[in-house]
């Protein structure tokens, strides 16, 4: 993921405008609270081969990430959600790793954007 395309700016700006500049910080903080928890749920679900829990965690990550404009990250989460839905977690491990790694970048960029 290249930093410029990590967060889709029009989506983020529209959200900021809709929610108010003061509120966007609170939202971003909530996202920072939730997402690491969801990522660890995802990893746990993978190790237990719990497709349902896997799908749910991926689904949550996808929906909130898309709201902030983290579209690439969201697309990856969506792919994982589909794998959970179709109960085929065999090839998921690599994608989960990419997702976890991708989150760091998402977090950095969002942090900057919400300050700016």
């Amino acid at each position: 993921m290249n930093p410029p395309s990590v967060i889709d700016l029009p989506t983020f700006e529209a959200l900021k405008e809709a929610m108010g500049a003061d509120y966007i910080n609170e939202l971003v903080q909530a996202y920072f609270e939730e997402t690491p928890q969801l990522l660890s749920k995802l990893q746990q679900a993978l190790s237990k081969q719990d497709c349902d829990a896997f799908r749910q965690a991926a689904h949550s990550i996808k929906s909130t990430s898309n709201s902030f404009g983290a579209l690439q990250f969201g697309t990856l989460a969506k792919e994982l959600e589909m794998m959970g839905r179709e109960a085929r977690l065999d090839g998921a491990s690599g994608k989960v790793k990419s997702l976890v790694a991708g989150y760091e970048t998402v977090q950095q960029v969002l942090e900057e954007l919400s300050r700016g």
């Binding site: 108010g20 509120y23 609170e26 689904h59 949550s60 709201s67």
Partner: protein
């Protein structure tokens, strides 16, 4: 777009970001918001506080959206609160299931603020209309009928029930009406109905018809009461007592006394809602009802205010005194009816 008036909304979502997003949008539209993290918490809050609308996520830990819907739609207290499902676009199958289970509408996440406003506005408006309708039912129907309607829903079907029918009517009402102003007559009728309603509902009866100076009441339906005969007779004695009190007042004001006649009969009746979907009333029909009406008009012949049929009389406890008036050939009846009067002085 019409500005909807604000409502008390509950946002249910296990994802904090989703809750905040939705909550913020709704607050900006003027609504007051509370939030729940899962289905169990949502149901607890719905029981504790009155909400106008619930926005419900489907997938949640502890208790999911389906379970909330199932419990809420089966709960008399909660089933009138509209529930809007918030779901991701690809969950359309789940949405269909929710609508079939009784959800009012759905919104896809991320929620579009314009669509949100329109859907919330429409649902709140529908809820207000339903609340108004329920208030009207409460106003114009007795509480028993209203709660029967609320539990069984509105259907115009009928059923056979064992019940006691009562007719009551003011004697020589036309003469009384001619001797006073129209305003006085309406006031008299209002006082009369207030007193009669009180006596009848105190005994668990339901007034289901008021025509001019006459009324019809049912005991034992729609709520089943084993002692409906006794209740009807006790109510009739209370009614006469109240009329006597009213007369003390009227005499003091130099007005004519009023007298009422009451006919009571028990047995099988056909009970149900009659009318149309727009206007209906809970009523009872059948031979028992006709007999009660005939007994009421027969009070004029016998000169006693309360007449009851044999079926009612045989079901009374020994604390109520009755006097046999012998068999009567009642108008329109092929078989003679055993008629009893109920003396006003019940002291043994």
């Amino acid at each position: 777009m019409a500005n909807s008036s604000p409502g008390r909304l509950l946002v249910v979502d296990d994802n904090k970001v989703n809750r905040l997003l939705l909550g913020r949008s709704l607050e900006q539209q003027g609504h007051s918001i509370e939030m729940a993290e899962n289905g169990r918490q949502a149901l607890e809050m719905m029981h504790a506080k009155p909400f106008d609308l619930v926005l419900l996520d489907i997938e949640m830990p502890e208790m999911d959206g389906y379970q909330v819907l199932e419990k809420a739609t089966a709960d008399l207290k909660l089933r009138d609160i509209p529930i809007i499902i918030t779901s991701a676009l690809e969950e359309l199958n789940s949405v269909v299931k929710c609508i079939e289970m009784g959800a009012e509408d759905y919104l896809t996440k991320p929620v579009n603020p314009v669509l949100l406003k329109a859907r919330i506005g429409a649902s709140l408006e529908k809820k207000r209309l339903r609340d108004q309708q329920r208030d009207l039912i409460r106003k114009f129907a007795t509480s028993e009928v209203a709660s029967d309607l609320e539990t069984s829903g509105f259907s115009l079907g009928g059923k056979f029930v064992e019940a006691t029918a009562m007719f009551s009517d003011i004697r020589s009402f036309t003469t009384i009406a001619e001797s006073q102003t129209p305003a006085e007559t309406i006031e008299l009728l209002n006082t009369y109905y207030t007193l009669m309603f009180e006596a009848i509902s105190d005994q668990g009866g339901v007034v289901n018809q008021m025509v001019g100076d006459g009324l019809m009441a049912i005991f034992g339906a729609p709520l089943v009461q084993a002692d409906h005969c006794e209740r009807a007779v006790k109510a009739s004695l209370d009614m006469i007592d109240m009329i006597q009190l009213l007369n003390v007042d009227r005499l003091a004001q130099g007005k004519a006394e009023i007298r009422i006649g009451i006919g009571i009969a028990s047995g099988q009746v056909i009970a149900g809602y009659t009318g149309t979907i727009r206007r209906a009333t809970y009523t009872c029909v059948g031979d028992t009802v006709n007999l009660a009406a005939r007994l009421e008009s027969h009070t004029k012949v016998v000169g006693k205010p309360i007449l009851i049929d044999g079926t009612t009389q045989s079901a009374l406890s020994s604390t109520i005194k009755t006097e046999a008036e012998g068999p009567f050939q009642l108008k329109g009846k092929t078989v003679e009816a055993q008629v009893f009067s109920v003396p006003l002085d019940q002291k043994m």
